[in-house]
Amino acid sequence: MDQDMCSLFCFSADIISTVEFNYSGELLATGDKGGRVVIFQHEQESKNRPHLRGEYNVYSTFQSHEPEFDYLKSLEIEEKINKIRWLPQQNAAHFLLSTNDKTIKLWKISERDKRAEGYNLKDEDGRLLDPFRITSLRVPVLLPMDLMVEASPRRIFANAHTYHINSISVNSDHETYLSADDLRINLWHLEITDRSFNIVDIKPANMEELTEVITAAECHPHQCNVFVYSSSKGTIRLCDMRAAALCDRHSKFFEEPEDPSSRSFFSEIISSISDVKFSHSGRYMMTRDYLSVKVWDLNMENRPVETYQVHEYLRSKLCSLYENDCIFDKFECCWNGSDSAIMTGSYNNFFRMFDRNTRRDITLEASRESSKPRATLKPRKVSTGGKRKKDEISVDSLDFNKKILHTAWHPKDNVIAVAATNNLYIFQDKIN
């Protein structure tokens, strides 16, 4: 946390809706509101500038989802990519799952840097040759060509979700994955697209009795039978797929008792969990609600072990934030590779990082003005009291349209990706 982050890269696109590093950190995928996926690749450190890690450059771009129209309900289905999750790499190609509200797709991204030349049956333009004209045979040779990265859809997992998909998560068995919408969670096999198993269903018989929805779900990083899902009431349920086919009954139920002194009409809304993430170790999980991030020990259900306030100064503004709908913003959170630090976004293009060991936290800003390439980021501070110090920003000056909902941390290095509306920022720490 003492390391200075310096900005490395800035990229404009449609509104970015998801950011995800792959398992090695070599690739970084972003999905946007227009249904596009852009993948960046980490380039090796240059010999000229050994003090910097390499840069991320565009590796591949493809249109993952298109807008659709549901004729039965007369409603549009947005092409916005809600989540991208990488599969562990098993061969030269890379695979990722991308999903919009209704359909999940498995994409194969492969490189082609050679082409075959010297075909017998077709000429260089591809036209078929008359076989009777051929007088001799030759063996085609592979010649190098400019690198071409191709993305092709290998599987389409459709028609399994009535409600909007909010999460997908690849299982540690590398064969299955789960997808969660507001009321149901399905388990898929990566090879099978025409059926999925429903493992959680919280839809009431009478929709008017609906008071709670599923907000996020994730598979345990090591135990392939365990997954968790969070709800709009601030609860997390851990389920064991060995216990029953339908996991409506949880194995563990995580909920922090409410603080009666801070109860208001907005208590439930701000307790709604927008993201849940297991630690890399698998021993902890982290949840993000509107004002805070909480770290839970999987062995303790009655309260989190750590709570970090992200922007407590907003607590007195909840009524206005309810009016302008900001109170429903879904912020994500992420762990660093060693689980020693966590990161989440806020408003005004601020994002926050918390060091779990030193208990120190820092607020940084992702904006063109404040982060010139190679420059060190300056910590930011929001003034909550009456007197505003120099360089501090007052709560009323915060721009609530500039929200950082999606962040990602490199699985090994101190490199982070921060999506600020339609700009992607990649920060890294300086190597001294």
Partner: protein
């Protein structure tokens, strides 16, 4: 960014926490500011529920959270007894109107009473104070609306005789004008301070329990709202359902005490509500 509003002042500091507990669960001294705040929150929530975009399926999580907020407010108002006051006031206000509605009201009072008296776990006194101090920023727009409409309190109509057995046809123009008249004429009895705050506040209280007759304040509020989105089920599933309910029938479906009459009356109401909708367009805006 934030609307500049007056900072709420808690008007009855002496009557709070401990006393509130002694007085019993139902009677809780409420400042009118708090009631207005709660009222505006309720109105805002109902508007949000109804203004979901129909082009794309609405966000279910958001709808559920707003609906829960409305339920919370409704329960608290029921607990305070203000809900009951309002119910009675509006029951009396439903003049020449609707046989269907009137019949329901006849069946309701005991239910509403029972609901109001059933012990509900309330946040204890101290929290209310905290709650008020938290919500410092007043929603100016909604407040202004409430302040304006409060000038012509509907509660004056609480003194009209209960008109049971009247003719149906609550979308009649006659009805509208009658309601408007009753709304506009100032009632001396209503010129009272906070001791009658229940009525005063709920003069502007458009939420009705049971189904409302065409209410000018209501229509004004909802003149630009898509009326096809009244059903909570519709809201939650994003599908347009055929029976179109009145604007605040939403609350009926939310309320745990909603009468089962809702389902029986729906088929009749669908036609009535079509007419109501048309009337709103002609008269309302």
């Amino acid at each position: 960014m934030f609307a500049k509003g007056t900072k709420r002042k808690f008007s009855d500091p002496g009557e709070e926490p401990a006393l509130g507990a002694e007085l019993g669960p139902v009677v809780r001294p409420l400042s009118s500011t708090y009631s207005l705040q709660r009222q505006s929150l309720l109105d805002m929530s109902l508007i949000k529920l109804q203004l979901c975009h129909m082009l794309v399926e609405p966000n279910l999580c958001r709808s559920v959270l707003i609906a829960n907020t409305v339920r919370q407010i409704q329960e608290e108002m029921t607990q305070d007894g203000t809900w009951q006051i309002m119910t009675q006031a509006l029951a009396a206000a439903q003049c020449p109107a609707d046989r269907l509605v009137a019949t329901e009201v006849l069946c309701r009072p005991s239910e509403a009473l029972a609901a109001a008296q059933s012990p509900k776990p309330l946040p204890a006194g101290p929290e209310e104070e905290e709650e008020e101090e938290e919500e410092e920023v007043v929603v100016a727009a909604a407040m202004e609306e409430d302040v304006d409409s409060e000038a012509n309190p509907l509660s004056s109509s609480s003194f009209l005789p209960a008109p049971f057995g009247a003719e149906p046809g609550w979308e009649d123009e006659e009805d509208d004008s009658e309601d408007e008249d009753s709304e506009e004429c100032p009632s001396d009895a209503e010129d009272v301070p906070d001791s009658r705050r229940g009525d005063q506040v709920f003069g502007t209280f458009e939420i009705k329990h049971p189904a409302p007759p065409p209410d000018p304040a209501l229509e004004e509020l909802f003149s630009d709202v898509d009326p096809s989105y009244y059903d909570l089920d519709t809201v939650l599933t994003g599908m347009q359902s055929t029976p179109k309910m009145g604007p605040y029938d939403l609350l009926d479906s939310l309320s745990p005490h909603a009468a089962p009459a809702l389902s029986t009356g729906t088929s009749c109401r669908s036609d009535l509500n079509e007419l109501d909708h048309i009337m709103e367009i002609i008269v309302g805006s």
